[in-house]
């Protein structure tokens, strides 16, 4: 180009201009601020409003936190120390710490037991939640429920031990008969479990003091411990039931399908609180006369039923999302129904359902606070009842509710972040 025009134009530059840095407003932090905070008048107004809101929150909350008092024994004392300043009486948390965690009737000398159970829970959950953990840790996970029952409720170790032996017997029977057919295996396993527990059940009754911890009644459980117990137990129980219900709803056998559909739609159509009312006042009518099933167990039954219906719907979504070809491929391999489900369909369907299952789990954990309404003393029940009603702490709303919000937020937020991480770990497609 320059050659052809060299004679026709007056000046042709034949050297490069030295490189210039970009204008200050178009680089680095200033560019970012311009683009993200002050692009256009509307955007600027939004920024100013947001800054004002943040300023309001921080300026209100900071002195409240900074002047917080941690070591008084009543609200009046705390107000006296604050002497008119803005400040939080966090001392309600330190003074009532054990009540908030364990409820107000759990025997204080046994606080170490639920604490230990909680620590062991983390150990037991590691192999379940973290796919790379050593697989033989799963053995501990299998023992954990029985250990935790013994630690929290106390009594002789023989009762959970016998149930554990029963389940082990069932598992071996299942393995023996599995080669014949899956259904036979399940039947044999179930029969063996029932027989062993039935027979073994007589042993603890004869020896109530072997390896016994001080027994704690269910109605003495409370505080955040109760939320944790209900949440963990009901989520883990509802998973297998949910899978069965989902498979039943997908089944081609009309009677089985309709039983599952009616159950799922009924449970999903009513609020959990009505189911808790059922647990509280109605369920006892359906047990054999004279039997005395305690409230925690009844609540666990109803919450599990509730969660299974929701989990079933999530898993049904996963099953429906699998391409038809997977079912056909499993059939063409000559696998029967149980094998194709266990080896081909469910592993994939469950993987797709993880986000949904975690949503249900988080929702369920939040819903465990509803037991406060049928006058059980979980974290919310403790705050609403014994603590706010006590003469020492009548009127400490912000600190207590702030604590409850904090605890639930930490747990639920961690669970949902974990599910996002797990989803990335399990993603095998679109690499």
């Amino acid at each position: 180009m320059s050659d052809t025009h060299a004679q026709s134009v007056a000046f042709v530059r034949d050297t490069m201009l030295p490189e210039q840095p970009p204008p200050v407003t178009e680089a680095g932090a200033i560019k970012w601020v311009r683009e993200n905070l002050f692009r256009g008048w509307f955007n600027t107004i939004l920024t100013i409003v947001s800054l004002y809101i943040i300023f309001k929150i921080v300026s209100g909350a900071y002195p409240w936190f900074a002047n917080g008092i941690w070591n008084t024994s009543s609200l009046a004392e705390c107000r006296e120390m604050l002497d008119g300043m803005t400040g939080a009486c966090f001392s309600v948390l330190t003074e009532r710490w054990n009540q908030l965690l364990f409820g107000f009737t759990y025997p204080p000398e046994a606080y170490w037991r639920p604490t230990l159970a909680f620590v062991l829970l983390i150990v037991a959950l590691v192999p379940v939640l973290y796919p790379k953990a050593p697989r033989n840790m799963l053995a501990f996970t299998a023992i954990y429920p029985f250990l935790a029952y013994w630690l929290i409720w106390g009594g002789t170790l023989l009762i959970p031990l016998m149930v554990l032996v029963g389940f082990a017997a069932g598992y071996f029977a299942f393995k023996q008969f599995e080669r014949q057919s899956f259904a036979m295996g399940m039947l044999a396993g179930f029969a063996a479990t029932v027989v062993v527990i039935w027979v073994g059940g007589t042993i603890p009754a004869a020896l109530p003091d072997v390896l016994a911890l001080e027994a704690v009644r269910s109605r003495d459980l409370g505080g955040f411990m109760l939320n944790m117990i209900l949440g963990t137990v009901c989520v883990s129980l509802s998973l297998p039931f949910g899978i069965l219900l989902a498979l039943g709803r997908q089944s081609s056998m009309p009677i089985i399908k309709w039983i599952c559909v009616v159950f799922i739609e009924f449970i999903r159509g009513v609020p959990l609180i009505t189911l808790l009312f059922v647990a509280n006042v109605v369920l006892a009518y359906f047990f054999p006369p004279g039997s005395n099933i305690d409230l925690v167990l009844r609540v666990i039954i109803m919450i599990t039923a509730f969660a299974s219906a929701y989990i079933a719907e999530v898993i049904r979504g996963g099953l429906a999302a699998l391409p038809r070809g997977q079912y056909e491929a499993a059939n063409s391999l000559g696998l029967d129904y149980a094998q194709s489900m266990r080896l081909i369909i469910l592993p994939q369907a469950l993987k797709i359902s993880i986000p949904g299952i975690v949503n249900v789990a988080v929702g369920l954990f939040k819903d465990t606070t509803l037991v406060a309404i049928i006058s059980m003393f979980d974290l919310v029940g403790m705050i609403r009842g014994p603590i706010l009603a006590s003469t020492e702490w009548n009127g400490v709303y912000w600190e207590l509710w702030g604590f409850a919000v904090f605890v639930f937020f930490i747990v639920c937020f961690t669970i949902s972040k974990y599910s996002q991480w797990l989803e990335r770990q399990l993603a095998t497609d679109h690499r």
Binding site: E35, N36, L37, R39, N43, L46, T47, S50, L51, I53, I54, S181, A183, S252, M253, P254, I255, I256, I259, E265, F266, R268, G269, V270, P271, L272, I273, T274, F277, V278, V281, V282, A284, Y285, F286, F287, P288, P289, V362, K366, D367, T369, L370, A372, I373, V380, R384, Y397, W401, A404, V405, F408, F409, C412, F413, S416
Partner: protein
Amino acid sequence: MLINDTRYRSYTFQFVALLLLVLAFGYLGSNLLDNLQAAGLNISYQFLGEPAGYDINQKLIPYTSQSSHWQAALVGVLNTLLVAFLGCLMATVIGVVVGVLRLSNNWLVRQLMSVYVEIFRNVPVLIWILIIMAVFIAVLPQPRDFRGDDAEASMVLGAFAFTGRGFYMPAPILGAGAGFVIAVFVASVAGIFAFKNYAKKSLYDRGKLIPTFWPSLAILFVPTILVYFLLGRPITLDYPALQGFNFQGGIFMRNSLISLWFALSIYTAAFIAENVRAGILAVSQGQTEAAASLGLRPRRIMNLVILPQALRVIIPPLISQYLNLTKNSSLAIAVGYMDLTGTLGGITLNQTGRAIEAIFLLMLFYLTISLAISAIMNVYNNSVKLKER
């Protein structure tokens, strides 16, 4: 054998399942009968006709403590529907605003909104209800603070009083001819739809674009206001006024209703915001660009291309959030708002001891609502399903 022959296997399984089900129900039923007999009870709905004997402080229909349990339940039903309706309305507004702001290009606003969503989604709604109730009572002035010449609190615009006991606001009084004004108003709303249809038809048939915004506004207000003044202002307002230690007159919304309403709204709004965000993100950028390259203007791109596609994704989860909100409204009992759970499932149950009957009716009510809403959702889903060849 029946279990190994594929021709009969499914019948065997179903027969066994049915048998087990019948046996289980029979067992539970016989237990129930035995227990009822032992307690000297029976199943009967006679109690619904008996006088309730308790008062309800927030009601939409006339009710006294002499009214029957049946009427108490009806008051509860209406209260449930009231808070569910108000809640859905407010949750939608907040949810849409937050969901759109989460996609804003303003970094600060985006962060603030995700903090809002995460905090409210991850904490039980029961805690929010109780917190808002506590804050409500602690922060807002009591009616007695409005008294005197140098009162600590004053009414907003002379018509609204926000107190810790609840909100007082003016109530409309319908005089003679008020029905006519309302009829004109309803007719104008219908007129707007007719006008919009006409504008659409004119656009599609003759390619003529008729502006709709200002004419619609005129149709909405002009005839109604004209008739209102021509008939000599038949609708007047009854302002709440301080008498003694409390306000009289106007509409009174109790603090329990308001805190339940607010808590359900902001909690559900966090979920709706996520649905709205997902819906907008589901419409690919290419759609906007394609519409722009056809020469559509931004508002028309939004109305004709983006929204119809986004709404297909947004509405089903939105409706299930409405359903959740309605079911969560049963937590009213925690703050003493007398919804159906508070009347039929609460006081009526405790007074009459008819647990089975009361809870059965309670479940039936919620079940009916859920099934009705699911039916509506199915109809909608079918109507917006992509028509494939």
